[in-house]
Assembly symmetry: C2
Homo-oligomer: 224 residues x 2
């Protein structure tokens, strides 16, 4: 290989590093703060482009993006959420259940746009790098979601990830074929304000763990 | 809730947006370009901090980070890779197999640091948001990996994700308990240069798909 194939890859300057860290640090899961106007088409193209730049196993690019503007479609998804969420609340006890029932866990109807991000398990036949870890294509698709989320933060667009639904319900509503996995259901819209920190921490559901307790060296359980 | 809990969430200015997009666009899977020196401890703390700021289902924060400096440990992982990779090569036919055998698919020994990122499936009992989609904690952990990768790019640190191994091999080498899933095995080190585009495209393995073919509206298969 010639050196021409290589590009500079050194550190960003301080201001640019700070911008990247700020996107990471101030990305929130948005449920209530969506503004009503439609998502700017150029901004939408930008965040989808960022998703498409995600790493993918064997350069498989297994993702698709289903854009859901229609209120009718989103109302059907919301009904599927509501049914699953009622079941979910019953799984928590006492005070937790009372708190759970107060939490706003989705912005399906409030956000002007929903995006269902899927993973085509059969794209490209035998996939380099997936031969021994079959779930790598799902993980690639999650990387696309996180890229989208961070690019959206930089654009002033909020994203919320909804995970409380029965998968067959969404599959039927969106006509997703059997070989395609549903990875993420996202609520998307412009925002002006958001929670200063993780909303579940602010509401007393669970607190940030100390990072140092999560780092091991050389083998599981061994502290640095 | 008082307005005090909310912070500004508008768009970044143009320079800061560009920095975020640049991290996303120039993040590469590094295999060969690692510099030999150790990873700067402050930079390592920064990228682990970015990982820990990832979204997680029910604020579960299911991740751990196993830092592998020891050459002995990494040599055992490399042997596990080599065995699996020989099997993997046999799964491709003819020209593909010849090309596969020429590809450099990991930097386990060349990188000064490897990080195994895991997901504790049992952390925190019943998890909000995971009640109906059991794999959400794995996906949260992947978001942490992508955060780490982008923060590393901004720091001039390269990351390569190795997925070709038999999971029980890694589990035994790193003493990972049964309730903990191995999500990512990363090779990490400073870099000065990297491939200008996706390495598998440059080597002729597979090319970038047109994004517009991957976007649907309202239901699967319907073009905007």
């Amino acid at each position: 290989m010639s050196a021409d194939d290589l590009a500079a890859a050194g550190p960003f300057d301080e201001a640019d590093r700070a911008a990247v860290y700020r996107a990471i640090a101030t990305r929130r899961d948005i449920r209530s703060e969506f503004l009503p106007g439609p998502v700017d088409p150029a901004a939408l193209a930008r965040i989808l482009g960022a998703a498409h730049q995600a790493p993918s196993v064997g350069f498989m690019q297994p993702w698709n993006f289903l854009l859901l503007h229609s209120l009718e479609t989103r109302a059907r998804v919301h009904a599927a959420f509501a049914r699953a969420n009622a079941e979910a609340a019953d799984l928590f006890d006492g005070e937790s259940q009372a708190l759970y029932r107060q939490l706003k866990l989705e912005g399906i109807l409030k956000a002007p746009l929903n995006i269902c991000v899927t993973c085509d398990r059969e794209r490209g036949g035998t996939v380099l790098g997936r031969t021994h870890n079959r779930e790598m294509d799902l993980y690639s698709t999650v990387c696309a979601v996180q890229n989208l989320w961070l690019a959206a933060r930089a654009k002033g667009i909020g994203v919320g990830w909804v995970s409380i639904y029965h998968e067959p319900d969404l599959r039927e509503i969106l006509k997703i074929p059997p070989a395609v996995a549903i990875v993420a259901y996202l609520c998307v819209g412009h925002v002006e304000r958001q929670h200063a920190g993780p909303e579940l921490a602010a509401k007393g559901w669970r607190q940030r763990l100390p990072l140092e307790e999560l780092v091991f060296e050389e083998r599981w359980g061994q502290r640095p």
